[in-house]
């Protein structure tokens, strides 16, 4: 699949934004993170900034963005429509939580309820994003039991690493938040390795034989219907060389998981100023790594239409 930057950025940014929003909603609403104006403002601005930038970016690949409002109508059948509805609905409790926690400096009561609802909305939106990909049968690497949990785990992981950086930056970091961010990063690493292992051993029942209805023997493409690349090949025929794929997987592991994990582990034993810098670096490094991870998620996914063009 062609890795369109707008979609790669969209899923990475909104995942991190919703992860951070969910953590702020739960921990802030219940009073585990003290209601502080500047901390709250920066935290909510970061979460909402990532979410809004991501959502705007996602409209960048639409052919007719001025009609995007129509996408809220088909939630009964379409995961993309459900994503749109869930993302907009989440703004309502988020706004209430922001008013209560940031502007009024309160927690508990209705602020906690709004925070929890915002967290539920954030998790729901991430699930709908994951299901858009997990529901596509023609792409075996996406239509797998690994896809939906991956979106949730990575949202929680990037969100918690951002939350830790935020708390460390305001010198109110806690070992619990730090440990959660570190464990989430290790969990994300494990899940990604398991996903790659699963995909590399995938035996796809759909072949050039079933695609053409020609049973038995081999089916070899000898002539394409067109001399130039068409829409199908540009959109779904993206191919990545195995050696680049291996190298990019190593870059993903280093940037998204290994380096952040080492930095976060170091935060346990370093004084505040170093801890804040290391936490911020871990978050930035991880987001860069997740962009590479998401790029590979597209680039390594193979659509059945490529069978018609001779993919084995």
């Amino acid at each position: 699949m062609h890795p369109a930057f707008s979609v790669v950025f969209f899923t990475t940014a909104t995942g991190a934004g919703y992860g951070l929003l969910a953590l702020l909603g739960v921990l802030g609403g219940l009073g585990f993170i003290p209601a502080d104006f500047w901390l709250g403002l920066v935290g909510m601005a970061l979460a909402l900034g990532l979410i809004v930038a991501g959502l705007l970016s996602s409209t960048g690949h639409l052919g007719r963005p001025e009609r995007a409002w129509r996408a809220f109508s088909q939630w009964r059948s379409s995961w993309l429509s459900r994503e749109g509805v869930a993302s907009v609905a989440t703004f309502i409790p988020t706004a209430l939580f922001g008013i209560g926690w940031v502007l009024l400096g309160r927690s508990g009561g209705w602020v906690a309820a709004a925070g929890l609802l915002a967290a539920v909305g954030a998790a729901t939106t991430v699930c709908t994003t994951g299901m858009i990909y997990a529901s596509l049968k023609p792409i075996a690497q996406w239509h797998s039991p690994y896809t939906l949990p991956a979106y949730l785990i990575f949202a929680g992981m990037t969100g918690s690493v951002l939350a830790n950086a935020l708390l460390q930056g305001f010198n109110v970091g806690s070992n619990a938040m730090l440990a959660f961010a570190l464990l989430a990063t290790l969990a994300g690493w494990g899940w990604k390795l398991a996903t790659w292992r699963y995909n590399d051993r995938l035996e796809i029942p759909t072949t050039a034989n079933t695609a053409t209805g020609l049973t038995g023997g081999t089916v070899r493409s000898i002539e394409w219907p067109h001399t130039e690349e068409n829409y199908l090949l540009k959109e779904m025929g993206f191919r990545i060389a195995r050696k680049h794929s291996a190298k990019l997987r190593r870059i993903t592991q280093a940037l998204a998981f290994a380096v952040p994990a080492v930095l976060l582990a170091g935060v346990f034993i370093t004084p505040w100023s170093f801890a804040a810098i290391a936490s911020a670096l871990a978050a930035i490094c991880q987001l860069a790594g997740m962009l590479v991870e998401r790029w590979l998620f597209f680039a390594e996914a193979k659509h059945t239409v490529t069978l018609y063009y001779g993919r084995q």
């Binding site: 699949m1 690949h61 639409l62 052919g63 007719r64 963005p65 009609r67 995007a68 129509r70 996408a71 809220f72 109508s73 088909q74 009964r76 059948s77 379409s78 995961w79 993309l80 429509s81 749109g84 858009i132 529901s135 596509l136 049968k137 023609p138 792409i139 029942p205 759909t206 050039a208 079933t210 695609a211 053409t212 209805g213 020609l214 049973t215 038995g216 023997g217 081999t218 089916v219 070899r220 493409s221 000898i222 002539e223 394409w224 219907p225 067109h226 001399t227 130039e228 690349e229 068409n230 829409y231 199908l232 959109e235 779904m236 659509h303 059945t304 239409v305 018609y308 063009y309």
Partner: protein, 244 residues
Amino acid sequence: MTCLPSHTDKKLGLVIDLDTCVGCQACVTACKEWNTGGHMAPLTDIDPYGGHIDGVWFNRVHSYEHTTEQGGRTVNFPRSCLHCEQPACVTVCPTGASYKRASDGIVLVDEDKCIGCKLCSWACPYGAREFDTDVGVMKKCTLCVDRIYNDNLAEEDRVPACVAACPTSARHFGDLGDPASAISQLVEERGGVALMPELGYKPTNRYLPPRARSERAVKVDAPALEPIKAEGGFLGWIDRMLSN
């Protein structure tokens, strides 16, 4: 609504005979010619005389070499929308632009509602949908919905343009939901198959596999050529002696 109808009165579709298709591309050009002025018009061509030609087509003919223990053969393979009974391209549509008609099962796009998100083209395993970058909306085969019900055309012309154009009658049109229809009988008789049945889209269109090779067929292999000049040496001498 992008929810699917529970039942369609008819299952209109195509049956394509891979035994008789000669890969002449007549169906491809007839389709383009009709549909660039039809229901989903235009079928935009980008840079048609330049070095990077691109454009929207509803029907593409591939050529394959199918090699089995019985030998190899060339199979020309027209590929277009199969008007599935379970078209995920419809259910993934967030706007209601894609729909399947309850009356005849044809899958269509309402171009005025399409936002061009392209998700339907990802959801189609068959590559039936092509995006029009110029108009910014998705396009697909309409089964010539503007021909098959068109009272202005003579009755024999009320078939999809690809079917009307095929010089070898490799393309057939009809109601695959009616077991008594000529097209259903043809599928029954020739063992017509659905493409990628394992994905569960339940395509309406059927492909008739190439017929088995006949042992009675005329041998068309050319005889081995005579050597131009006899070899020298002992064998050459024998050859010359025997040729006298």
